[in-house]
Amino acid sequence: MAAGVAAWLPFARAAAIGWMPVANCPMPVAPRDHSKRQDELIILNVSGRRFQTWRTTLDRYPDTLLGSSEKEFFYNEEAKEYFFDRDPEAFRSVLNFYRTGKLHYPRAECIQAYDEELSFFGIIPEIIGDCCYEEYKDRKRENAERLQDDQEDKKDFKPPNMTFRETIWRAFENPHTSTMALVFYYVTGFFIAISVLTNVVETVPCGSTSQKDISCGQRYTVAFFCMDTACVMIFTVEYLLRLFAAPSRYLFMRSVMSIIDVVAIFPYYIGLVMTDNEDVSGAFVTLRVFRVFRIFKFSRHSQGLRILGYTLKSCASELGFLLFSLTMAIIIFATVMFYAEKGSSSTKFTSIPASFWYTIVTMTTLGYGDMVPKTIAGKIFGSICSLSGVLVIALPVPVIVSNFSRIYHQNQRADKRRAQKVQKARLARIRIAKKGSSNAYLQTKRNGLLNELLDLTASEEEQQHLNKTKSLLESQHHHLLHCLEKTTGHDFVDEQLFEQNCLEGALQPYRSRTPSTSSLEGMTGTCCSRRTKRSVPLPIANAPASHAHPLALTHTLPKSPGLQELSAINIQCAEKQIHSSSRSNLNMQTNEVDRRNCKQQKVTTAIISIQTANTGSPAEDGGHGLPNRGASVVTTTSSNIIKVSAL
């Protein structure tokens, strides 16, 4: 229950007056305030700074240190105050939590110190209010990363018993783990550079023989061929080793880096296979272009390249927008220019596609000058084109740049996605806490009947002990919910039980009902009729089904006057008995309320005897009970006599 509205509980209980006249069953007993203590101020001395608050304020959250009896450990007899040797600044927000029901995170506070305070006082951080929760989580994450960075060095601890394959893979992924890996790393890097350089130099013209210039590649064919072979051999060996060591070969083969590797070495092998045939050599030359992809192999060696790749991938939408808007603008302006220049003679703007080139060159402010408009209209539109080109290109660029910067920083904080999961976990926890209050009531119901029974039979000390375990507020709230149950004649159950009941109800509609109880079916689903249905398998011939005279069970008990529902309690406990000889159990549905909490030695069983005017039915027996405790309860109704006695 939200503690902030604990003060309104008397109002809610008073509002229950609306249920009383319509209820068919009697109401349960209200919990008595045994302490009858006036609300008092308690002093909390935190390292010398004294805070004062009402006791009931602290009692709002009984599962924290200050709300439970745990604070008694800190009680100082001489000064009649509670002394805590903690930080008074952090304590302020802790105490405000009790007062307002909202936990705030003071931004000036160190996150670790705050966390420690919260855990000391038994408050879970998940209930920090929405206003401060983002900040809290951010700070916590930063702190965690800082700690993680310190621990990064420990990551290189090599686990023992790694297979050869795993060793190689690890060497490839983290080159600085072993010297061999480092050597291999640098060697491959060197060869990539050599290979790229070779490809470039190959085309440089050096010297001239006969009539024309020949490139170095044609002059020193053998040398370049040897260089190429060496590089490709290294790359092939590397690729094969990676393929061998990869934990999942299929995934590895699909990855971008491996595709680049393959593309880099393929042209060489194709060149080996193909002869110096004139027809295919043209195609072969084209394939050589792919050798430039070797430069992408550098991305394994450079973090920045990888980030750039990520950026482009993540900015896909912005790039797409850029492309789209550029295309639109190009088409528009090309069309306009074409029609504007159509009139002039010897124009270069021969068709719209031909004008595309002009538009692109103008919009990107290149301005080669190979195509220029000659008409006045063409010049006007040409200038508009160049002005708008700047705008169109400049708009998406800052977005891409900021994306890059973001990813760059994000690369250092890789667990933003983890934070999303934590957010979901937090919301789930809050949902659970909200459900917790209804679950608390259901739990108490299973225990609660027990307590009421003990009120009858237990001694005063046991009664006090049990009452202390549940705060007064809680017991009053549960009494309120209990009254509502009585008013409507239905019980609160939790979801699983409800679904089970529905299933059971669908599958076995009539198995558990004897003909006698079917006469009671006519009554509305009031608690009394349900309870009697369960426990009374014997006919009540005179029970008028259509009359509005529900079996009202009123009891008189010598010990505590006004105690109601004893028979119901007893009946319920009878059902809780695992003792199968009880006839009442035969009519019980198997998925009844949990029996776990029924302490057998303290439960009494009802002996229910029904004596109607016509049928003198014998009493039915229950299971075992407490010795030496006798209380006989007589119930009267308007038309029937139901005698309930507890052994």
């Binding site: 007056i17 319509v22 209820a23 009359h547 109601q564």
Partner: protein, 220 residues
């Protein structure tokens, strides 16, 4: 110039947002609500008017003020507070009826005086007073008699508070049947409505109801 730009950009973003309706939303509305504040009459005066002790009034007011710092409860807050006590069901309809019953001067808000006046009757009044108050709660249009429709509304609102997960499964006609029972019990002359006299008379005859009325003695 700067202020104008800010307003302009604010309105532009509102238009883009699509959620802002210039007819109903306005900044002035927000200001109005926050300036409403109500201070109750003095403690002594309240003590004269009700049967609560000074300490009880203090406790009541502290709780009241904590939840409603402005000093008055409007219906939304009322519903919100009441719903915290019934996590499983939907208590908004019943809370609405309660609000109507507490808001005696029909001004749409419950001040602390109204609050105390209502609680005074329920918690410290005689049985007849309490029954009168309950009748007033049921009589939705305050015409002096409860019709079946009014009772059905009330009953439905009570059953709504139970929620979906109940044992036994809630039938759809459970409120109606309950209303039939109620009218059978209360409506003496079988004319289809329950008047205040019939109500009080029937309640006085019913031991259960009399007994449950005693429950309110020591709520505070």
């Amino acid at each position: 110039m700067k202020a104008k730009d800010r307003d302009q950009s604010l309105s532009d973003s509102r238009e883009l947002d699509g959620s802002y309706d210039p007819l109903t939303d306005s900044i002035e509305d927000d200001f109005e609500l926050s300036t409403v504040c109500h201070r109750p009459e003095g403690l002594d005066k309240l003590q004269e008017q009700s049967k609560f002790t000074k300490k009880e009034l203090q406790v009541l007011y502290r709780g009241f003020k904590n939840e409603c710092p402005s000093g008055v409860v409007n219906e939304e807050t009322f519903k919100l507070i009441y719903s915290q006590f019934f996590p499983q069901g939907d208590s908004s309809t019943y809370a609405h009826f309660l609000f109507e019953a507490f808001d005696t001067n029909k001004n749409g808000s419950v001040s602390f005086e109204d609050f105390v006046a209502g609680l005074n009757i329920i918690l410290r009044g005689s049985i007849n007073d309490r029954l009168n108050w309950a009748f007033n709660l049921y009589d939705l249009n305050k015409d002096g008699c409860i019709t079946k429709e009014e009772m059905l509304d009330i009953m439905k609102s009570i059953y709504d508070m139970m929620g979906n997960y109940t044992y036994p499964c809630m039938q759809d006609d459970a409120p109606r049947e309950h209303v039939e029972n109620f009218f059978q019990k209360m409506d003496r002359n079988k004319d289809g409505v329950v008047t205040i006299d019939e109500f009080i008379e029937s309640c006085q005859k019913d031991e259960n109801i009399m007994q449950s009325m005693q429950l309110f003695e020591n709520v505070i």
